[in-house]
């Protein structure tokens, strides 16, 4: 499938309210710069991120998905991210087993003070996904046609 040179991926980042969302806000406060294609969805805890959200994102046309939360041990809700860790260690492997490119799905621990890490992660994921081109796997069919047309 032809890929547009100026392909701008759509990336969604599920960020926990207490660490990563705060870190992303801090990145703003410090006027750090990262690509525009990363969109944050605020959730109370990374444990709130149902793996089905990720599937839905790929299906509806996201090219990359991030799940970010507090570092293990720092969860605002004390243990939420330990479940996140297990859940997504399994989910990431299952997605890859089903053909999703490893670079399209990322889980990261980013604390409220790690603005630079948020910026770097956003830039890194955006860069990788850009290289891979638009995601067609798991995408609803009419959307595949649509972006294929856009590519020609």
């Amino acid at each position: 499938m032809p890929v547009e040179k100026s392909f701008e991926p759509a990336i969604v980042a599920f960020c926990c309210n207490w660490c990563t969302y705060t870190g992303a806000d801090l990145a703003g406060l410090n006027r750090m710069k990262y690509p525009e294609n990363v969109h944050v969805i605020r959730v109370p805890c990374s444990g709130r991120v149902n793996p089905q959200f990720i599937l839905r994102a790929f299906q509806k046309g996201c090219d990359g998905v991030m799940v970010c939360g507090c570092h293990p041990g720092d969860c605002h809700y004390s243990t939420g991210n330990y479940f996140t860790r297990r859940r997504f260690m399994i989910m990431k492997r299952l997605l890859e087993y089903n053909g999703i490119d490893p670079e399209r799905f990322h889980a990261r621990w980013i604390s409220g003070s790690e603005a630079a890490k948020f910026r770097d992660t956003a830039a890194e994921v955006s860069e990788h996904v850009k290289k891979l081109g638009p995601n067609v796997k798991y995408r609803e069919e009419f959307r595949i046609t649509e972006s294929a047309e856009a590519g020609t």
């Binding site: 793996p51 089905q52 599937l55 839905r56 299906q59 293990p72 041990g73 243990t79 330990y82 479940f83 860790r85 297990r86 859940r87 997504f88 260690m89 399994i90 989910m91 990431k92 492997r93 299952l94 997605l95 890859e96 087993y97 089903n98 053909g99 999703i100 490119d101 490893p102 990322h106 889980a107 990261r108 621990w109 796997k137 798991y138 995408r139 609803e140 069919e141």
Partner: protein, 279 residues
């Protein structure tokens, strides 16, 4: 064979006559020589309908969910696979142990693909054991051999493999209906407004169903193989749940489901020093 069959019939008859059980679930004859069908016998006189041959293939445990609140105990012929399924249902708080009477029948392997990977022929859980346990056979192949084959492919090849698999899926949900780990009151796939599952018969929606089902049951799968047996399209779908089991085995060591009714499921607990790749 007939001796064991006779024991089964006698046991069922006694249970029913003594009023110990309201009815007994087992296998019965069909019009075909190479088929049996699950039967439910209430009348002591009908116990002669139970058969025990190499075609007694269906796992019976899931039928317990159709009668979760029985007035009397339900008798159930129980092999290794049934007993692991019952542990599954007990752990998932779906049935009560006191509502079932488990008649242990050590299995000698039946004529089904699902039995070739069986590693637990003898019931783990029973109220009575009708004959001496069988030796477990050496497995025909490594537990995760076929998962390894798929893992060896490139991402694109894996996508095509599963994509083509799910292209054939007719979304009949037979795999779900027969699975002892699929014990929700209402399956997410049957709901219309959750947004989790599209209803189209498309590769995308079929695959979403496949992956979601795998994730829902993966850490609770007892590897009975019923999902593949009942699939009208013969799809190798246990390769999905086994992938999860393989990963759990690699991440935290020996992990097998349905061996008891108390162990917490992998995704329902955590260790502080779980492996972490998300630094």
């Amino acid at each position: 064979m007939s001796e064991k069959q006779e024991k089964m019939r006698q046991c069922a008859e006694k249970l029913l006559r003594d009023g110990e059980a309201g009815y007994v679930i087992g296998w019965g004859e069909t019009r075909f020589d190479d088929r049996t069908t699950p039967i439910f016998v209430e009348d002591p006189a009908g116990a002669g309908a139970f058969v025990w041959n190499e075609y007694a293939i269906n796992s019976l445990a899931k039928y317990l969910l159709d009668d979760k609140y029985p007035d009397k105990k339900i008798g159930l012929f129980t092999r290794g696979c049934e007993s692991r399924a019952i542990n599954r249902l007990l752990k998932d708080n779906q049935i009560k142990r006191e509502n079932v009477y488990l008649i242990g029948v050590p299995c000698d392997g039946k004529k089904s693909d699902r039995c070739t990977l069986c590693r637990e022929r003898n019931p783990i859980l029973y109220d009575v054991l009708l004959w001496t346990p069988e030796d477990d056979p050496p497995p025909a192949a490594g537990r995760f051999d076929r998962v390894k084959d798929i893992e060896a492919m490139s991402p694109d090849e894996r996508y095509v493999y599963w994509g083509e698999t799910y292209d054939s899926c007719i979304r009949c949900y037979a795999c779900r209906n027969v699975c002892p780990a699929c014990n929700c009151r209402e399956c997410y796939a049957d709901m219309s407004k959750t947004g989790f599952q599209g209803k189209q018969h498309s590769r995308s929606d079929n695959q979403i169903f496949g992956v979601t089902r795998a994730f829902h049951v993966g850490d609770r799968c007892i590897e009975c193989g019923e999902c593949e047996r009942v699939c009208p399209m013969n799809l190798p779908i246990m390769g999905q749940t086994q992938k999860i089991l393989k990963d759990i085995n690699e991440l935290t060591g020996e992990y097998e489901c349905g061996m008891d009714a108390t162990s917490e499921n992998y995704l329902g607990r955590f260790d502080l020093d779980d492996k972490d790749e998300f630094m």
